[in-house]
Amino acid sequence: MIKNIITLFLILIPINSYALIEVDITRGNLDPLPVAVSPLSIDEKSRKSFEKILKKKNIGEEISSIVENNLSTSGLFNPLSKDAFLQAPDIANLKPRFEDWNLIKAQALITGKVNYVDDKLRVEFRLWDVLAAKEMMALAFTTVPSNWRRVGHIISDKVYERLTGEKGYFDTRIIYVAEEGPKTQRIKKLAIMDQDGFNNKFLTLGNELVLTPRFNPTSQMVTYLSYFKNLPRVYLLDIETGTQEVVGDFPGMTFAPRFSPDGKKIIMSLAKDGKSDIYTMDLENRIVERITNHPSIDTSPSYSPDGKYITFNSDRSGYQQIYLMKSDGSDVKRISFGNGLYGTPVWSPRGDLIAFTKLHKGKFYIGVMRTDGKGERLLTENYYQEAPSWSPNGRVLVFYRETKTNDKGEGFSAKLWSIDLTGYNERQIKTPTDASDPSWSSLLSN
């Protein structure tokens, strides 16, 4: 699958224009930008070819609807209803009649076309500033037809980046744990899907308990906890080849794994004799380093994006709280001082915030704080939710939520949810089964 990225050529057609439209992303979805996504136009011959290969009646419309859906779920854009569009897609792509688009209050317009060229899918698209009556961006890609969903995601990322000034997060995947069966005997499998819930694939069979998969930020590798042969250990999985290997040779349970930002190390906990400490293992030379040494529980470690610091949770104060230390384990200091218990700290890819789970008075919160522990903001409150994971641009958090059961112990479910950093735009991510422990990948194409 990764190989397909190589065949995806990006041809940037440069243009000179100022960023006229500005989307204020700090305000969340309070005032989403009205945008018109005109369906990608397609000639009849190309349409028929793609219908044959991809079993989609109109691949141009399909790709446009991916873009529309992405922009809409971001909460920053409001894609307008196609019923109101006055101009035909092919004409609009040549030269939009800006008065028409202005009339329906579109501020930005996306147009484009799809062609079938040498067994490949060729897409070009343009982004227009309706008020200024100017082209903002024009791009063309050629790729294998089976990559059509990714084309939709890449267009979304380009539009998002052009209009917000920040990288997008649509051409990404989420790895998670798929769950089935009664609460007392859950069957758990690793599963992976596109960020929008499509292309779901199970990666393990459910023969052994698996937990907490996490992406390598630099490759298609995943680290996770498996109870293979009843020995809970951290494993490494190559999504491309399916090869799995146990990480290191430890005398006890290893768990809570994550990659270092350069993807070269795994940081994790080792539980032995009733205490849990943090270790790293270099994946190239297999050298193991002990980072903490304390009789308490030290777990859920996460690196800062520059690799210089580690945040983790520990109950060394008596209760679970969030700490910070240098990556060699020195200068340990507690940073969470609010009421309640704090866990699962995860450093934002931008470096300025740490997302966490908080338990206070019987409620679970997902929140963010600055790296000095100040400026705590709770984004969402629920019966049970935890394990936030950042979108690669640091705008959105995905986490899982479990429901309370009734008096008979029935009604349990676990689902994935996402929320914007602002605390707005909370959404469930649809999965074929129950789901937990999500981890967001980096952008597949850069």
């Binding site: 609460k183 937990l211 907490t212 809970p232 006890g252 009733g274 949770n313 209760y319 935890e386």
Partner: protein, 163 residues
């Protein structure tokens, strides 16, 4: 007038009944919890299985704790005596947590609980070679309820025969 008097009396009787029955149910629940929990440690026998007669297979813990209660120590002494008598038997101690904690912390907590039980068995003469430990965190609850009593049953270390 007579009618209204009868009516009044009936009302009084009815109200009295209601108050009484409300009291009764409240008391029943209260004693139920009291009878099977001390503090928030489970003391009932609902989920308990027996390794041998008089040898319960599990001990229970308070929220976020791994300290052994008096009752737990008694259970573990009975397990140690049984293991001394049956010297060929090895055991696995399975440590568990309730659902009210983060997954990774709970894995560590389950391990700490199972080790608390292991340490106690060792002080009563059981060799560490005969005991292995595994933590399931919050992954394998015995009670799927979302209430304090259910959670108390799930905060446990279970001794399981390994051979």
């Amino acid at each position: 007038m007579i009618l209204s008097k009868i009516f009044k009396n009936t009302l009084i009787v009815l109200t009295a009944c209601l108050v009484l029955s409300a009291c009764a149910t409240k008391k029943e629940i209260a004693t139920d919890i009291k009878g099977s929990m001390q503090g928030d440690v489970y003391t009932g026998t609902d989920t308990v299985e027996y390794l041998a007669e008089g040898v319960p297979d599990r001990v229970f813990f308070a929220t976020n704790e791994s300290i052994l209660t008096t009752a737990s120590r008694e259970t573990l002494r009975a397990q140690a005596a049984w293991m001394r008598k049956n010297s060929s038997i090895n055991v696995v101690l399975e440590g568990h947590a309730d659902e009210r904690g983060t997954r990774e912390y709970n894995l560590a907590l389950g391990e700490r609980r199972a080790n608390a039980a292991k340490d106690y068995l060792m002080t009563y003469g059981i060799s560490s070679d005969r005991i292995s430990v595994i933590s399931y965190g919050k992954e394998r609850p015995v009670d799927s309820g979302s209430n304090p009593l259910s959670w108390s049953k799930n905060r446990r270390s279970v001794t399981v025969k390994a051979n």
